[in-house]
Structure formats: structure tokens, C-alpha cells
Subunit: 150 residues, 2 copies
Amino acid sequence: MDVVDRTILNILQRNAKCPLKEIAEKVYLSTPAVSARIEKMEKEGYILGYQAQVNPEALGYHIKALINLEVSPEGKTVFYPFVRKCSNVIECNCVTGEYSMVLEVLFPSTTELDKFIGELQRFGRTKTLIVFSTSVEHRGINADIEETLE
Amino acid sequence: MDVVDRTILNILQRNAKCPLKEIAEKVYLSTPAVSARIEKMEKEGYILGYQAQVNPEALGYHIKALINLEVSPEGKTVFYPFVRKCSNVIECNCVTGEYSMVLEVLFPSTTELDKFIGELQRFGRTKTLIVFSTSVEHRGINADIEETLE
DNA sequence: GATGAAACAGCCGAGCT
DNA sequence: AGCTCGGCTGTTTCATC
């Protein structure tokens, strides 16, 4: 894990389909060398996978919301398998604070959102925040900032 | 936008590097046909890009948090350019409710998180939730659910 | 949209520094 | 030991039907 690996990670986060040749030029290495580094980072768990980013609006998901949910410790054993099957839940975090869970969800309209919140009520109290707009959503992790590990 | 396109989207969300040949077999089409469909979806804005998913833990980002921030309408013109430059902010949503913004952030430790919250104070009041664990984070959008659009 | 051929990128070897 | 350069395989793309 050196500065070259970090640069490669940043490039692949911006464009996973970037040709090895182009990466190689940017880091002043040969393509096999870059290939070996990427393979190493995949095996060592730095790279979890490659995914296409899909536009939710284009698919008809016009409503994005954050749902705060109070789930009891016992309720979690039922809640986790449930939430994992909900394809509308794109992120689910267990957090500190008044509510134990924060879910990020996508729905075509508020009607479906409301119906979903109704289903959630059986786990506990909810507080929902509707998202007006998203100004940052790169989801890319800056690999440069960190001091050299390893 | 038909059922075949949706299937392709779901495959690419799971694995952006899936060979066209493999996709073609699954949707019972030839590789050029699949290629054309993908290209079309890229041009029409269904596919925003392809990105490598990096493991935050592996890069030393051990702390994930949700920061609720109260920003005045006037403050937003200064806040947006600021937050866009913060590489630790992986998502920033403008929301309904008591606080106008919810930021999702990554930091190596609580020390850096605390320092960042200090910087945010100048925009307004904050409430921070530390993330214990993340049970769902696929960030993949189910393309099947929707009725056929066009 | 399917089939074939050509171009390209990515992979694996050998040789070198 | 790691990088660079070669040939080789596989994938993607283009032209034709």
C-alpha cells in the first residue's frame, strides 16, 4: 500500500473501466505492474468490487428519504433479515442517539414510502426525513489523505 | 427500457466488469445487442458511471458518522461549495425536519471527526450520530420492481 | 437483432535491471 | 525480487445479412 496504489484506487473509483494502459501512464508504470497491484488490492480486500451507478430518477425513484427507526435489541434479530430483503433500502446504519437505526430508502412516490413506514412501525417508533436534494454523493473514498499504512 | 434492459442494469450493478458474453447468455441475446443496449443506457442517463467500491476500513477510515446540520438558507451558498471540497463527506442530503442537512462522513478516528464538526459549527448547530455497524450498503437500485416506463 | 471478422485490451510467459 | 517487453487469449466492436 503505497502512494501508487492509492492513486490507482482513486482512478478506479472515478472510472472502474479505465484501461490499464491509461492508469499505467498516470502512475509511470507498465500495464502488468498495474494489473498485479490491482489484483493484489482485490485479494487483500481494499477493492470490494465494481459496480455500475444507476440513476434512480431515470428508473422512476423520485423520492429519497432517511428513516430513523427505534428498534429494541431483541427486535434486531428479526429486523436485520427483514431489512436485508428490502430492495428499496439502499443503506441501513446502526447508530448512536435517540433512534437506533437510520435507513436510506428510495421510492417512486410518497405513497409507497408511507406504506413502507407503516410496515416498519412494528419494529418501533420512526421519524422520517424527506430528501430535497443531494449535493454530494460520490461515495468515493479519498485514498490520498491517509498516511502510508502497511 | 424493457425487462431486458432492467436485467442488464441489475447485473452491472452487482458486477460492472461482467463480460458481455456472460450477460448475453443470461438475457438470451448476442453480445453486440447487449453492447448496444448498454451504450444506449449510458447515453440516456440510466447509467451514470462505473466505480470501484473501496473498503473504508482497509484504508484506515474506522469511523463513520451521520452529521445533522442546521444551515440557514443564506448559509447554503457558502456551505455547498465548502462541503463539495470535503473528501471525507461521502454524501450530503438537504432534508426536511429540524436540521436542514444530513452529512455522511468517514474519518480515521473520532479525533478528526471532532475537528471536522468544529469546522461545521460556523454554519449552524449540529447533532452527530456515530455509526456502529452497517447492515445494508449495496447502493444498488432494483430495476425490476418498477412498472415498464419508456 | 444475429453472425462473422478485425481491433483492442488484458494476461502470462521470458529476459533484464 | 520486481519491472519491462514479448506473444497469446479473450473480449469488444464493426460490417454485413
